[in-house]
Symmetry: C2
Subunit: 268 residues, 2 copies
């Protein structure tokens, strides 16, 4: 890989560019984005040069699509390149299906499980992917190498399997956070009592809707399945509040929560 084209130089695309540099990538990084974003990306040294999509597609060895999902789908409709193509969209089935229409180039879906409630190339961070899962929808040695060099924890998953699991670990948490904020907002006097617990759990509710609109629209089925499982578990806990069986549920969940926090080398 000598030339990388980042299409959508926001938090994720910008962080991927910075992470590549930090990991020793010595080729050229071109950016395809709005003029305002390009100006900020050039100023921060995130990209070397700005280009149109067609120009970038003609010279890139790797095209990295890091727009919101709807933007990725629209780019795939017009993209024409011999390059290796990957994306950073938060759902994979719809995107991978759309990529099958590409006339040429090789497409491998990707999803770095990293992010912040903030957006924009101003927030880009070379270490954003470090220690975080990075899913690819197929094996691809060149891409796997860079995922590992930027510190991602490589996971290979079929698009549908990714979407079912992402619904549980990412999309349902977002809805939980939004619903809790809504409940607090709807209850007079509740906001005055908010302590660290509710502050923590409503952090995701700050996330930008533009990102989530596309995730909800392209993963509604799996999200509903995961939500139903979640509310079932929650109602089960509610039914045994004063029961001795609660202890087992509580300790088992605590054990899972601890395991999620173990360093990668102990866990893998």
């Amino acid at each position: 890989v000598k030339t990388v084209a980042i299409v959508g130089v926001g938090l994720i695309g910008g962080s991927f560019a910075l992470a590549l540099r930090k990991a020793g990538f010595e080729g050229k990084i071109v950016g395809v984005s709005s003029p305002a974003t390009i100006a900020k990306a050039l100023e921060r040294g995130v990209i070397d040069e700005a280009m149109s999509l067609a120009q970038a597609a003609a010279i890139a060895d790797l095209v990295y699509l890091s727009q919101p999902i709807q933007g990725i789908l629209e780019t795939l409709d017009v993209l024409d390149t011999d390059a290796l193509i990957t994306d950073a969209g938060s759902t994979k089935a719809v995107i991978c299906e759309r990529a099958k229409r590409l006339k040429r180039g090789r497409f491998v879906g990707g999803h770095p499980m990293a992010g912040k409630e903030t957006r924009g190339v101003e927030e880009a961070d070379a270490d954003l992917f470090r220690g975080r899962p990075y899913i690819l929808t197929a094996r691809e040695p060149d891409l796997e190498k860079w995922v590992e060099l930027i510190g991602g924890r490589l996971v290979i998953l079929e698009p549908q399997d990714h979407d079912a699991l992402a619904a549980i670990v990412s999309h349902v948490p977002q809805l939980i956070s939004t619903a809790l904020a809504a409940e607090i907002g709807a209850t007079g006097g509740a906001a005055k009592l908010v302590g660290p617990a509710a502050v923590d759990l409503t952090r995701l509710a700050l996330s930008p809707y533009e990102v989530w609109r596309d995730i909800f629209a392209t993963n509604a089925g799996p999200i509903r399945v995961a939500l139903k499982l979640f509310t079932g578990i929650l109602e089960g806990l509610g039914a045994q509040l004063s029961e001795p069986t609660m202890q087992k549920e509580f300790l088992q969940a605590a054990q899972t929560a601890r395991e999620l926090r173990q360093p990668v080398n102990e866990k893998d």
Copy 2:
């Protein structure tokens, strides 16, 4: 207030003692706790002296009950003092009801909305209450003064009102976190995909069961009401995933989440 007795010198009781000192309290602080805790509390300089409950009750002007709820109830059953008595239990209706049986002394229920997933006097922190809500179940000038001096945001609430609101901002968040950890634990492959969202939302699931057993047992009714409201909102979001109405719900919740984060002086 010249002598304060801390009954249960753990995270909250120890922090209250340290916070009093930092706020300029120059009287004596005595501790009533297990020998192991007393040894650690004396070593850290959290208390000046250890006593039995009866000894402490005889000399204290303020008795601060900071055991788990069941311990507070048991202490109230045997406590005999002329002092002002308050507690730090996470539910208030059952405790305030039990305190009505006290033969003498004045009781005012309290609840600092502060804490950590960890326990013990080792974790005690003079700034634990700073900027956090501190509920009292009745007006009491002496107590109000100290709550404000240690940085708490004083809120006066009837016990039942406290319990209904605490169910929403604290007890339901705990159950949400436990349920999400349980869902992730029950789904093969999910743990490998966990990113910052699920790590954040499962932090509360690490909380000690001994603390929560008593909260669940003494606030089951209000918790079930708050849970039902929460699952209703969550299912409502699930039903409109691809609908344009979702945007309004999302932005409104984001606005609430932002308001919860505003500095106290802007918010009050």
